[in-house]
Amino acid sequence: MGLFSKIKAVLSKTRDGLSKKLNELFAKDKIGDEFYDELEDILISADVSVQTTMEIVEEIKDTAIKEKCKDKEYVIDLLKKELFDSIDYAEKVEIKTPAVIMVVGVNGVGKTTTIGKLANKFNKEKKSVTIAAADTFRAAAADQLTVWAERAGVRIIKHAEGADASAVVFDAIDSCKAKKTDVLIIDTAGRLHVKANLMEELKKMDRVVKREYPEANFYKLIALDAMTGQNAYNQVETFNEAVGLDGIILTKLDGTAKGGFIISLSYELEIPVCYVGTGEKIDDIEDFNAEEFVEAMF
């Protein structure tokens, strides 16, 4: 299965949900206020934020009125273009070696699983990979990560449960320097973004990496559960404030989570989505592609 078709297959549920409603809507005759109201309803129920929805719909409405357009197919294209524009970034996140990737996020979004997948992906690209198990808080988190490291065939640096997370990072950097490892991936404990002391711990890890390994390219990626609602915005905003985010990994996209969520996020915060998680198997990770994503939604 090609990359395109795989994403498309995965997104078919997203598509089924959103486009079924859209098709129903487009099947109606007139393009009037009712049409746009319903368009708003659809986007909001797909977890697009109210503000983004209003902006998108206004934009389309304006254009359609200006061009005296009555053709629904054309309005679909307008919508596609609008959605695409909001999530397409000129700058893509490219991982250049030597790289340090720190994955952050709230509890239960799938950080550890994503790291397993990323490790496997880089390993397949013939890059040497080390994982740092800096989630020293959650029960058995390091064990879970060890299983993933074995599956991906990469090295793992870990300490005992309850150890200082920054110490794990420090040791991992040491080891990576000595072995000239291409990619170091740091797993961090899930933390709710409102817990300032835990965010401080994260900042400390950030400082350790910058101080001990300045020659590496440092990427901080936030893992977001595709099923999250409007709270995703707060999450990205707070983590971004704390450590400065380079990209978003959207996990659990194999569920029925609606695509609208990403659109809204990128619309309001300028942080690109770089990977999507599409299942529980080790290969279930893809580069994010705005065009494919929007195409697959319809």
Binding site: K13, G108, V147, V194, A196, N197, E200, G229, N231, G255
Partner: protein, 368 residues
Amino acid sequence: MSPTQQVIKIVNEELIDLMGSANSKLGVSSNPPTVIMMSGLQGAGKTTLVGKLGMMLKKQGKKPLLVACDVYRPSAINQLKVVGEKAGCEVFERGQGNPVKIAKEGVSHAKSFGFDTVIIDTAGRLQIDEVLMKELEEIKAEVNPEEILLVVDSMTGQVAVEVADTFNKRLEVTGLVLTKLDGDTRGGATLSMKAVTGKPIKFCSVGEKLGDLEPFYPDRMANRILGMGDVLTLIEKAQDAVTEEQAKKMEKKFRENSFTLDDFLTQFETMSKMGGISSVLSMLPGMGSKIKIKEGDIDESKMLSMKAIIQSMTMRERENPQIINSSRKNRIALGSGTSVQEVNRVLKQFEQTKQMMKQMKNNRMFRF
């Protein structure tokens, strides 16, 4: 009451009405052991909740057995074992076997070893995963659970409706549990889930420690959704943290204005028992949502040094702080590993508190 307040009041009442009856308890089977089964998406917080429920039941004098049926996620069994150990509950596991069989064996193990409650941890699954949903149905048929709890992340968006609906249709869940409510989410999805399933919300999970489990109160949730604070929870936490005897003693001190540094210390300890200043503040009306209080904004480590300072004083000094002169201050600072400035600060805070109490005593609102 202003028109705005009236509207809020009406909305508030409607919300409470929608979220239904308060304080649902866990059912107990007439034919022990009582089986409680978890269900939910990946990462909702099921395993942690199993530990929390186990600890809660233990506190109620029950003997729960935790059964590890998440055979898919790497190390989920280990996690349950660690959680179980912390909660002081035995964990039943059969490695990566067949979950339906493990559940069945777990229940018969409970029967033969005198456990009165069995909590079954299951793997997280998407509601559209036919194979795994079927597995849940099979477990249900095999062990006939008294309670099937659907565990839902309170940050979930619109998809919560579909998730709750599907799980409910497949399993006929008996109740919902909201997790991660210690974040800044308003938890509006609660409304939809309650409305679509008609099932009660039984518990709220509010932290990573095993004690962080609360019953669900619709009125408080409504306040949260509207951002109106949560005074009731605050009062309850206070009741948990302070014994009646302590309260009476404190009341007397208030009346006689004989509040000492020792009492000051006790107050701070009470505060930290209630989850720290930030947790207490966030429950006050108008504080929770308007002012973003983050843990640590109020430096809880300062409270530790305050404790050290007071404990470095002699009993006489604690009762008569006015005798603390500069040489005493030097000694206290040395003893507590702080500085004279910090000792001064604590003494000043104590004086302010005392002043405040005087005022409160004269204020009818705070009649004790």
